[in-house]
Protein backbone atom coordinates (compact mmCIF):
# COMPACT_ATOMS: atom_id res chain seq x y z
CA UNK A 1 0.00 0.00 0.00
CA UNK A 2 1.52 3.30 -1.12
CA UNK A 3 1.34 5.90 1.65
CA UNK A 4 3.67 8.63 0.49
CA UNK A 5 2.80 10.76 -2.53
CA UNK A 6 4.19 13.83 -4.26
CA UNK A 7 2.69 17.13 -3.07
CA UNK A 8 0.18 19.05 -5.18
CA UNK A 9 2.81 21.68 -6.00
CA UNK A 10 5.20 19.03 -7.28
CA UNK A 11 2.51 17.40 -9.42
CA UNK A 12 1.55 20.77 -10.83
CA UNK A 13 5.14 21.61 -11.78
CA UNK A 14 5.44 18.13 -13.27
CA UNK A 15 2.38 18.67 -15.47
CA UNK A 16 3.74 22.08 -16.51
CA UNK A 17 7.04 20.48 -17.46
CA UNK A 18 8.90 22.75 -15.04
CA UNK A 19 10.73 20.11 -12.98
CA UNK A 20 14.16 18.77 -13.82
CA UNK A 21 14.24 15.41 -15.63
CA UNK A 22 15.28 13.63 -12.41
CA UNK A 23 12.23 14.70 -10.39
CA UNK A 24 9.91 14.42 -13.40
CA UNK A 25 11.01 10.82 -13.82
CA UNK A 26 10.42 10.24 -10.09
CA UNK A 27 6.82 11.44 -10.34
CA UNK A 28 6.25 9.53 -13.57
CA UNK A 29 7.50 6.30 -11.98
CA UNK A 30 5.41 6.87 -8.87
CA UNK A 31 2.28 7.58 -10.94
CA UNK A 32 2.80 4.37 -12.86
CA UNK A 33 2.48 2.51 -9.56
CA UNK A 34 -0.16 4.79 -8.03
CA UNK A 35 -3.53 5.01 -9.83
CA UNK A 36 -4.64 7.81 -7.52
CA UNK A 37 -1.80 10.12 -8.53
CA UNK A 38 -2.16 9.03 -12.15
CA UNK A 39 -5.77 10.15 -12.15
CA UNK A 40 -4.85 13.37 -10.41
CA UNK A 41 -2.22 14.07 -13.07
CA UNK A 42 -4.65 13.34 -15.92
CA UNK A 43 -7.24 15.71 -14.52
CA UNK A 44 -4.74 18.45 -13.86
CA UNK A 45 -3.29 18.10 -17.36
CA UNK A 46 -6.75 18.43 -18.84
CA UNK A 47 -7.46 21.56 -16.80
CA UNK A 48 -4.14 23.23 -17.44
CA UNK A 49 -4.41 22.45 -21.16
CA UNK A 50 -7.89 23.92 -21.43
CA UNK A 51 -6.85 27.08 -19.59
CA UNK A 52 -3.65 27.44 -21.61
CA UNK A 53 -5.44 27.32 -24.93
CA UNK A 54 -8.42 29.47 -24.14
CA UNK A 55 -6.75 32.49 -22.72
CA UNK A 56 -6.67 34.73 -25.73
CA UNK A 57 -9.08 36.13 -28.19
CA UNK A 58 -8.30 34.10 -31.28
CA UNK A 59 -11.63 32.50 -31.79
CA UNK A 60 -12.64 29.73 -34.06
CA UNK A 61 -15.69 31.76 -35.03
CA UNK A 62 -13.34 34.09 -36.77
CA UNK A 63 -12.80 31.49 -39.45
CA UNK A 64 -16.31 30.31 -39.69
CA UNK A 65 -17.49 33.84 -40.41
CA UNK A 66 -14.81 34.52 -42.94
CA UNK A 67 -15.88 31.42 -44.88
CA UNK A 68 -12.29 30.41 -44.85
CA UNK A 69 -10.56 32.24 -47.64
CA UNK A 70 -6.86 31.95 -48.14
CA UNK A 71 -6.09 35.40 -46.86
CA UNK A 72 -7.97 34.93 -43.60
CA UNK A 73 -4.82 33.59 -42.05
CA UNK A 74 -2.85 36.59 -43.12
CA UNK A 75 -5.40 38.80 -41.45
CA UNK A 76 -5.19 36.68 -38.38
CA UNK A 77 -1.45 36.91 -38.34
CA UNK A 78 -1.64 40.67 -38.42
CA UNK A 79 -4.35 40.81 -35.81
CA UNK A 80 -2.07 39.61 -33.02
CA UNK A 81 1.59 39.99 -32.25
CA UNK A 82 2.12 36.81 -34.15
CA UNK A 83 4.92 37.20 -36.60
CA UNK A 84 4.97 33.75 -38.11
CA UNK A 85 4.10 33.15 -41.70
CA UNK A 86 1.31 30.68 -41.17
CA UNK A 87 0.89 29.62 -44.78
CA UNK A 88 4.57 28.97 -45.20
CA UNK A 89 4.91 27.02 -41.97
CA UNK A 90 1.82 24.97 -42.71
CA UNK A 91 2.98 24.07 -46.18
CA UNK A 92 6.44 23.14 -44.89
CA UNK A 93 5.01 20.89 -42.23
CA UNK A 94 2.40 19.24 -44.42
CA UNK A 95 4.97 18.43 -47.08
CA UNK A 96 6.24 15.73 -44.77
CA UNK A 97 4.76 12.33 -45.45
CA UNK A 98 6.23 10.90 -42.26
CA UNK A 99 3.96 9.37 -39.71
CA UNK A 100 5.47 8.72 -36.32
CA UNK A 101 5.18 5.08 -35.41
CA UNK A 102 5.16 4.22 -31.78
CA UNK A 103 7.61 1.48 -31.12
CA UNK A 104 7.29 -0.02 -27.70
CA UNK A 105 10.79 0.36 -26.41
CA UNK A 106 12.63 -2.63 -25.08
CA UNK A 107 12.84 -2.91 -21.34
CA UNK A 108 15.99 -1.75 -19.70
CA UNK A 109 17.49 -3.84 -16.94
CA UNK A 110 20.16 -3.42 -14.32
CA UNK A 111 21.88 -6.04 -12.19
CA UNK A 112 23.02 -5.49 -8.63
CA UNK A 113 24.99 -8.39 -7.21
CA UNK A 114 23.47 -10.76 -9.74
CA UNK A 115 19.91 -9.69 -9.03
CA UNK A 116 18.31 -8.35 -12.16
CA UNK A 117 15.76 -5.53 -12.08
CA UNK A 118 13.62 -4.24 -14.93
CA UNK A 119 13.74 -0.46 -14.85
CA UNK A 120 10.68 1.80 -15.13
CA UNK A 121 9.85 3.20 -18.55
CA UNK A 122 10.84 6.75 -17.57
CA UNK A 123 14.47 5.64 -17.31
CA UNK A 124 14.55 3.93 -20.70
CA UNK A 125 16.77 6.46 -22.42
CA UNK A 126 18.84 7.59 -19.47
CA UNK A 127 22.50 6.84 -19.26
CA UNK A 128 23.38 4.57 -16.33
CA UNK A 129 26.84 4.19 -14.84
CA UNK A 130 28.14 0.87 -13.56
CA UNK A 131 27.15 0.15 -9.95
CA UNK A 132 29.69 1.05 -7.28
CA UNK A 133 29.65 -0.86 -3.98
CA UNK A 134 30.11 0.65 -0.51
CA UNK A 135 29.50 -1.98 2.16
CA UNK A 136 25.91 -3.10 1.90
CA UNK A 137 25.06 -0.30 -0.50
CA UNK A 138 25.39 -0.32 -4.26
CA UNK A 139 24.84 2.80 -6.23
CA UNK A 140 24.53 3.38 -9.96
CA UNK A 141 24.63 7.01 -10.99
CA UNK A 142 22.16 8.17 -13.65
CA UNK A 143 23.82 10.76 -15.86
CA UNK A 144 21.39 13.60 -16.43
CA UNK A 145 23.74 16.62 -16.42
CA UNK A 146 21.66 18.53 -13.91
CA UNK A 147 24.58 20.17 -12.11
CA UNK A 148 24.17 19.92 -8.33
CA UNK A 149 21.28 17.48 -8.65
CA UNK A 150 22.42 13.89 -8.43
CA UNK A 151 20.24 11.01 -9.52
CA UNK A 152 20.98 7.39 -8.74
CA UNK A 153 19.67 3.92 -8.33
CA UNK A 154 20.51 2.81 -4.82
CA UNK A 155 20.42 -0.81 -3.82
CA UNK A 156 20.45 -1.55 -0.11
CA UNK A 157 21.30 -5.17 0.55
CA UNK A 158 19.44 -7.02 3.33
CA UNK A 159 20.40 -5.66 6.72
CA UNK A 160 22.03 -2.59 5.22
CA UNK A 161 21.23 1.04 5.73
CA UNK A 162 22.38 4.60 5.42
CA UNK A 163 23.81 6.02 8.67
CA UNK A 164 21.96 8.81 10.49
CA UNK A 165 22.11 11.84 8.26
CA UNK A 166 20.52 15.10 7.21
CA UNK A 167 20.48 16.72 3.81
CA UNK A 168 21.82 20.00 2.69
CA UNK A 169 19.08 20.31 0.12
CA UNK A 170 16.25 17.95 -0.75
CA UNK A 171 16.40 14.20 -1.04
CA UNK A 172 13.84 12.17 -2.92
CA UNK A 173 13.73 8.44 -2.29
CA UNK A 174 11.33 6.47 -4.43
CA UNK A 175 11.04 2.83 -3.52
CA UNK A 176 11.11 0.72 -6.67
CA UNK A 177 11.28 -2.63 -4.92
CA UNK A 178 11.41 -4.00 -1.39
CA UNK A 179 10.99 -1.94 1.77
CA UNK A 180 12.93 -0.01 4.37
CA UNK A 181 12.18 1.75 7.63
CA UNK A 182 13.45 4.73 9.53
CA UNK A 183 12.43 6.60 12.68
CA UNK A 184 9.19 7.71 11.01
CA UNK A 185 8.02 4.26 10.01
CA UNK A 186 7.99 1.64 7.31
CA UNK A 187 8.13 2.39 3.58
CA UNK A 188 6.99 0.18 0.73
CA UNK A 189 7.24 -0.20 -3.00
CA UNK A 190 5.95 2.93 -4.74
CA UNK A 191 6.37 5.28 -1.79
CA UNK A 192 7.56 8.74 -2.80
CA UNK A 193 9.56 10.15 0.10
CA UNK A 194 10.66 13.76 -0.19
CA UNK A 195 12.84 15.07 2.62
CA UNK A 196 14.64 18.34 3.21
CA UNK A 197 17.37 19.61 5.53
CA UNK A 198 15.04 19.66 8.53
CA UNK A 199 14.77 15.87 8.54
CA UNK A 200 17.21 13.47 10.07
CA UNK A 201 16.92 9.83 9.38
CA UNK A 202 18.62 6.50 9.37
CA UNK A 203 16.97 4.22 6.83
CA UNK A 204 17.53 0.52 7.28
CA UNK A 205 16.32 -2.25 5.02
CA UNK A 206 15.91 -5.67 6.58
CA UNK A 207 15.00 -7.50 3.40
CA UNK A 208 16.87 -5.25 0.99
CA UNK A 209 15.45 -2.73 -1.44
CA UNK A 210 16.02 -0.79 -4.63
CA UNK A 211 15.45 2.97 -4.68
CA UNK A 212 15.48 5.74 -7.23
CA UNK A 213 17.09 8.71 -5.49
CA UNK A 214 17.44 12.37 -6.36
CA UNK A 215 19.36 14.74 -4.11
CA UNK A 216 20.68 18.24 -4.58
CA UNK A 217 23.23 18.31 -1.82
CA UNK A 218 25.58 16.02 -0.01
CA UNK A 219 24.35 13.92 2.87
CA UNK A 220 25.49 15.13 6.22
CA UNK A 221 26.12 12.39 8.73
CA UNK A 222 25.22 13.43 12.23
CA UNK A 223 26.16 10.64 14.61
CA UNK A 224 29.40 9.58 16.29
CA UNK A 225 31.88 7.71 14.26
CA UNK A 226 29.78 8.12 11.13
CA UNK A 227 30.79 11.76 11.07
CA UNK A 228 34.00 10.41 9.64
CA UNK A 229 31.94 9.40 6.64
CA UNK A 230 31.01 12.96 5.75
CA UNK A 231 33.54 13.25 2.99
CA UNK A 232 31.84 10.35 1.23
CA UNK A 233 28.32 11.58 1.93
CA UNK A 234 28.07 12.90 -1.58
CA UNK A 235 29.18 9.52 -2.78
CA UNK A 236 26.13 7.63 -1.61
CA UNK A 237 23.28 9.76 -2.88
Amino acid sequence: MIKHHPTFELIQSYVNGDLPASLSAGISIHAEMCPKCQQHISQLTEQIAAVSFEEDSFDIEYFEESSFEENSFEQLAEAGDFKLNIDEMVSNITQSKDITQVVSSTEKCISFNNKKYTLPRALNNMQLDKPVNIGKLSRARIQLSENEIHTSLLKINPGGGVPQHTHNGFELTLLLDGSFHDEQGEYHKGDFIMLDGSHQHNPVSDQGCLCFTVANGALHFTQGINKLLNPIGSFIY
Binding site: V15, N16, G17, A21, S24, A25, S28, S42, Q43, T45, E46, Q47, I48, A49, A50, V51, S52, F53, E54, E55, D56, F58, D59, I60, F63, F68, F73, L76, G80, F82, K83, L84, I86, M89, V90, I93, T94, S96, D98, I99, T100, V102, S104, S105, R121, A122, L123, N124, N125, M126, Q127, L144, S145, E146
Partner: protein, 205 residues
Protein backbone atom coordinates in the same frame (compact mmCIF):
# COMPACT_ATOMS: atom_id res chain seq x y z
CA UNK B 1 -33.03 6.03 -32.12
CA UNK B 2 -33.88 9.51 -30.96
CA UNK B 3 -33.73 8.57 -27.30
CA UNK B 4 -30.48 6.77 -27.85
CA UNK B 5 -28.90 9.86 -29.23
CA UNK B 6 -30.19 11.98 -26.41
CA UNK B 7 -29.04 9.68 -23.67
CA UNK B 8 -25.58 9.34 -25.12
CA UNK B 9 -23.12 11.26 -23.04
CA UNK B 10 -20.51 12.71 -25.35
CA UNK B 11 -17.69 13.29 -22.97
CA UNK B 12 -18.14 12.09 -19.44
CA UNK B 13 -14.99 13.67 -18.10
CA UNK B 14 -15.21 15.27 -14.71
CA UNK B 15 -13.69 18.51 -15.93
CA UNK B 16 -16.15 21.15 -17.04
CA UNK B 17 -15.14 22.22 -20.50
CA UNK B 18 -15.03 25.90 -21.09
CA UNK B 19 -17.43 27.29 -23.63
CA UNK B 20 -14.85 29.37 -25.41
CA UNK B 21 -13.16 26.36 -27.01
CA UNK B 22 -15.03 24.35 -29.61
CA UNK B 23 -13.73 20.96 -28.52
CA UNK B 24 -15.72 18.78 -30.93
CA UNK B 25 -14.48 20.91 -33.83
CA UNK B 26 -10.83 20.51 -32.74
CA UNK B 27 -11.31 16.75 -32.42
CA UNK B 28 -12.82 16.59 -35.87
CA UNK B 29 -9.88 18.45 -37.41
CA UNK B 30 -7.39 16.20 -35.66
CA UNK B 31 -9.24 13.15 -36.92
CA UNK B 32 -9.27 14.54 -40.45
CA UNK B 33 -5.50 15.02 -40.27
CA UNK B 34 -5.03 11.51 -38.92
CA UNK B 35 -7.33 9.75 -41.34
CA UNK B 36 -7.05 11.68 -44.60
CA UNK B 37 -3.95 13.85 -44.06
CA UNK B 38 -6.32 16.77 -44.51
CA UNK B 39 -4.18 19.89 -45.01
CA UNK B 40 -7.07 22.25 -44.64
CA UNK B 41 -8.03 20.77 -41.28
CA UNK B 42 -4.39 21.07 -40.28
CA UNK B 43 -4.39 24.73 -41.29
CA UNK B 44 -7.33 25.29 -38.97
CA UNK B 45 -5.50 23.55 -36.15
CA UNK B 46 -2.39 25.56 -36.85
CA UNK B 47 -4.27 28.84 -36.81
CA UNK B 48 -5.93 27.90 -33.54
CA UNK B 49 -2.94 26.51 -31.66
CA UNK B 50 0.19 28.13 -33.09
CA UNK B 51 -0.32 31.67 -31.74
CA UNK B 52 -1.16 30.26 -28.34
CA UNK B 53 1.81 27.92 -28.31
CA UNK B 54 4.01 30.83 -29.26
CA UNK B 55 2.68 32.96 -26.45
CA UNK B 56 3.06 30.17 -23.87
CA UNK B 57 6.57 29.40 -25.08
CA UNK B 58 7.67 33.01 -24.82
CA UNK B 59 7.28 32.63 -21.05
CA UNK B 60 9.60 29.63 -20.96
CA UNK B 61 12.15 30.58 -23.58
CA UNK B 62 14.22 33.73 -23.64
CA UNK B 63 13.77 34.66 -27.29
CA UNK B 64 11.40 34.62 -30.24
CA UNK B 65 13.47 32.21 -32.27
CA UNK B 66 13.24 29.50 -29.60
CA UNK B 67 9.55 30.10 -29.02
CA UNK B 68 8.99 29.79 -32.75
CA UNK B 69 10.96 26.58 -32.76
CA UNK B 70 8.54 25.17 -30.18
CA UNK B 71 5.66 26.16 -32.47
CA UNK B 72 7.30 24.54 -35.49
CA UNK B 73 8.24 21.38 -33.63
CA UNK B 74 4.93 20.99 -31.81
CA UNK B 75 2.84 21.49 -34.93
CA UNK B 76 5.07 19.10 -36.91
CA UNK B 77 4.43 16.50 -34.22
CA UNK B 78 0.71 17.17 -34.40
CA UNK B 79 0.90 16.51 -38.14
CA UNK B 80 2.93 13.34 -37.76
CA UNK B 81 1.30 11.94 -34.61
CA UNK B 82 -2.35 12.86 -35.13
CA UNK B 83 -3.20 9.16 -35.45
CA UNK B 84 -2.11 8.71 -31.82
CA UNK B 85 -4.82 11.06 -30.61
CA UNK B 86 -7.79 9.21 -29.12
CA UNK B 87 -10.86 11.38 -28.65
CA UNK B 88 -12.29 8.90 -26.16
CA UNK B 89 -9.35 9.40 -23.84
CA UNK B 90 -9.37 13.17 -23.58
CA UNK B 91 -9.74 16.53 -25.23
CA UNK B 92 -7.74 17.65 -28.25
CA UNK B 93 -6.41 20.54 -26.19
CA UNK B 94 -5.01 18.09 -23.64
CA UNK B 95 -3.30 16.11 -26.34
CA UNK B 96 -1.75 19.13 -28.07
CA UNK B 97 -0.72 20.51 -24.68
CA UNK B 98 1.10 17.25 -23.94
CA UNK B 99 2.87 17.36 -27.29
CA UNK B 100 3.88 20.99 -26.68
CA UNK B 101 5.02 20.36 -23.11
CA UNK B 102 7.18 17.46 -24.24
CA UNK B 103 8.74 19.45 -27.07
CA UNK B 104 9.54 22.32 -24.69
CA UNK B 105 10.99 20.00 -22.08
CA UNK B 106 13.38 18.35 -24.51
CA UNK B 107 14.37 21.70 -25.97
CA UNK B 108 15.06 23.21 -22.56
CA UNK B 109 17.25 20.24 -21.66
CA UNK B 110 19.10 20.74 -24.88
CA UNK B 111 19.67 24.42 -24.17
CA UNK B 112 20.50 24.12 -20.45
CA UNK B 113 22.32 20.83 -20.21
CA UNK B 114 23.40 20.39 -23.78
CA UNK B 115 21.72 17.00 -23.64
CA UNK B 116 19.86 15.72 -26.68
CA UNK B 117 18.43 12.69 -24.96
CA UNK B 118 14.73 13.44 -25.66
CA UNK B 119 13.47 11.95 -22.42
CA UNK B 120 10.03 13.54 -22.48
CA UNK B 121 8.11 10.78 -24.23
CA UNK B 122 9.40 8.28 -21.65
CA UNK B 123 8.45 10.57 -18.76
CA UNK B 124 5.08 11.64 -20.18
CA UNK B 125 3.84 9.10 -22.73
CA UNK B 126 1.83 11.16 -25.25
CA UNK B 127 -1.28 11.42 -23.07
CA UNK B 128 -3.18 8.19 -22.74
CA UNK B 129 -2.84 7.50 -26.42
CA UNK B 130 0.30 5.49 -25.75
CA UNK B 131 -1.65 3.13 -23.58
CA UNK B 132 -4.11 2.63 -26.39
CA UNK B 133 -1.22 1.84 -28.65
CA UNK B 134 0.12 -0.62 -26.12
CA UNK B 135 -3.12 -2.51 -25.82
CA UNK B 136 -3.50 -2.91 -29.57
CA UNK B 137 0.06 -4.12 -29.59
CA UNK B 138 -0.82 -6.70 -26.96
CA UNK B 139 -3.73 -7.82 -29.09
CA UNK B 140 -1.32 -8.23 -31.87
CA UNK B 141 0.83 -10.49 -29.71
CA UNK B 142 -2.18 -12.54 -28.72
CA UNK B 143 -3.03 -12.97 -32.37
CA UNK B 144 0.39 -14.41 -32.83
CA UNK B 145 -0.12 -16.75 -29.95
CA UNK B 146 -3.49 -17.72 -31.35
CA UNK B 147 -1.92 -18.43 -34.73
CA UNK B 148 0.64 -20.68 -33.07
CA UNK B 149 -2.10 -22.64 -31.41
CA UNK B 150 -4.00 -22.94 -34.68
CA UNK B 151 -0.87 -24.25 -36.39
CA UNK B 152 -0.86 -27.11 -33.90
CA UNK B 153 -4.33 -28.30 -34.86
CA UNK B 154 -4.70 -31.31 -37.15
CA UNK B 155 -4.47 -30.23 -40.79
CA UNK B 156 -8.15 -30.85 -41.52
CA UNK B 157 -9.28 -28.65 -38.63
CA UNK B 158 -6.72 -25.97 -39.47
CA UNK B 159 -8.15 -25.56 -42.94
CA UNK B 160 -11.62 -24.96 -41.57
CA UNK B 161 -10.56 -22.59 -38.80
CA UNK B 162 -8.35 -20.53 -41.08
CA UNK B 163 -10.95 -20.40 -43.80
CA UNK B 164 -13.74 -19.43 -41.44
CA UNK B 165 -11.97 -16.97 -39.13
CA UNK B 166 -9.02 -15.63 -41.07
CA UNK B 167 -10.38 -15.61 -44.61
CA UNK B 168 -13.91 -15.01 -43.38
CA UNK B 169 -15.50 -17.59 -45.64
CA UNK B 170 -18.95 -18.90 -44.73
CA UNK B 171 -19.37 -22.53 -43.69
CA UNK B 172 -21.24 -23.13 -46.96
CA UNK B 173 -18.41 -21.60 -48.99
CA UNK B 174 -15.92 -23.76 -47.12
CA UNK B 175 -17.96 -26.90 -47.84
CA UNK B 176 -17.95 -26.10 -51.55
CA UNK B 177 -14.32 -25.06 -51.54
CA UNK B 178 -13.07 -28.14 -49.69
CA UNK B 179 -15.58 -30.40 -51.40
CA UNK B 180 -16.91 -31.69 -48.08
CA UNK B 181 -20.43 -32.04 -46.64
CA UNK B 182 -21.55 -29.01 -44.61
CA UNK B 183 -21.96 -31.25 -41.53
CA UNK B 184 -18.27 -32.18 -41.65
CA UNK B 185 -17.25 -28.52 -41.79
CA UNK B 186 -19.46 -27.79 -38.79
CA UNK B 187 -18.15 -30.64 -36.70
CA UNK B 188 -14.51 -29.89 -37.55
CA UNK B 189 -15.01 -26.28 -36.57
CA UNK B 190 -16.62 -27.34 -33.31
CA UNK B 191 -13.80 -29.76 -32.51
CA UNK B 192 -11.14 -27.20 -33.38
CA UNK B 193 -12.74 -24.53 -31.21
CA UNK B 194 -12.96 -26.90 -28.26
CA UNK B 195 -9.23 -27.60 -28.63
CA UNK B 196 -8.37 -23.93 -28.98
CA UNK B 197 -10.32 -23.15 -25.84
CA UNK B 198 -8.44 -25.72 -23.84
CA UNK B 199 -5.04 -24.62 -25.11
CA UNK B 200 -5.62 -20.90 -24.77
CA UNK B 201 -7.31 -21.42 -21.43
CA UNK B 202 -4.29 -23.25 -20.10
CA UNK B 203 -2.00 -20.45 -21.14
CA UNK B 204 -4.19 -17.80 -19.61
CA UNK B 205 -4.27 -19.43 -16.18
Amino acid sequence: MQTNLLSKVTNDKSIPMSDSIDHPQLCQWLKAVAETRDKRAFTHLFAFFAPKIQRISRRKFPNDAQANEVVQETMSNVWRKAHLFDADKGAATTWVYTVMRNVSFDMLRKIKGNKEDNLSDDIWPIAESLQAEDSSFEDHLENKQLLNVIENLPEAQQQVVKGFYLMEMSQEQLATHLNLPLGTIKSRLRLALAKLKVQLGEKHD
